[in-house]
């Protein structure tokens, strides 16, 4: 898949929001500064990825994992990120577990429903047959009255 240069940029609106929330109220951030920070963020991702990948390769793994990223942050001298990252990861993992349980439950419920629906539709068919047989004599009576 060919990547266009724009695709490797992060959305300006989100970057702007993060900057504004980090700075004191009312600070004027120039358009040029915003663009530069956005580009810096993309470079940061590349640098962090490359660094994390080195750790993965050293451990003879092909898949980057959480530990690799944490090690990369330390290597890049962003130790200040480690605590907030650990906390965020905990919340994330709980959220993922919850989602998994919800979708597992939904799947089980669906299976249960399908089973009971199959049973019910068989019962209904039998009931309908009985009703039809009962209705016929009544229908004749109605016709006779009209």
């Amino acid at each position: 898949m060919a990547e266009r240069p724009e695709d490797l940029n992060l959305p300006n609106a989100v970057i702007t929001r993060i900057i504004k929330e980090a700075l004191p109220d009312g600070v004027n951030v120039s358009k040029e500064a915003r663009r530069a920070i956005s580009q810096a963020a993309s470079v940061f991702v590349l640098y962090a990825t490359s660094c994390a990948n080195n750790f993965a390769m050293k451990a003879k793994r092909k898949t980057l994992n959480a530990g690799d990223v944490m090690a990369a942050m330390e290597e890049m001298e962003f130790e200040r990120f480690l605590e907030p990252l650990k906390e965020a990861l905990e919340v994330y993992k709980k959220g993922q577990k919850g989602k998994k349980e919800v979708s597992e439950q939904k799947r089980k419920d669906k299976e249960k429903k399908q089973d009971s629906e199959n049973d019910r539709s068989r019962e209904e068919e039998e009931e309908e047959e009985e009703e039809r047989m009962e209705e016929e004599p009544e229908a004749e009576e109605d016709e006779a009255e009209n």
Partner: protein, 121 residues
């Protein structure tokens, strides 16, 4: 890696979301995949990189603002960022993409001076 959770990206962007990230994971993943030698990235690593990038944006903005000349004028300009990249070690990796700007006039003058120095030898 299965991205079966693309729909969850929308949840991530809502304010006060539990996961606490605003940047789109899918975009971060695109950037990461453009790095050579990277085969696959697990979901947690993807999340952490996205979160770290947000922390980085905050850190860069705040550091540049605090070190910069804009504190009196209450503004953050490009040159604040370029100066920070040069002066703060952890931001050195940004010097190529955040070069300091100089006036063309000054650049030409320093070229002249270099030529004169060569001429002396």
């Amino acid at each position: 890696m299965k991205m079966s959770q693309n729909s969850s990206d929308k949840d991530d962007q809502s304010p006060g979301n539990k996961k606490g990230i605003s940047l789109p994971i899918s975009r971060v993943r695109l950037i990461m995949k453009s790095s050579p030698d990277v085969s696959s990235i697990n979901q947690e690593a993807l999340f952490l990189t996205t979160k770290a990038t947000e922390l980085f944006v905050q850190h860069l903005a705040v550091t540049s603002f605090n070190n910069g000349s804009g504190k009196e004028t209450n503004s953050l300009s490009y040159s604040d960022l370029a100066n920070t990249a040069e002066e703060t070690e952890t931001f050195h990796f940004l010097t190529d993409i955040l070069p300091k700007k100089i006036l063309a006039r000054d650049y030409l003058q320093s070229l002249e001076e270099m030529k004169e120095e060569d001429a002396d030898f």
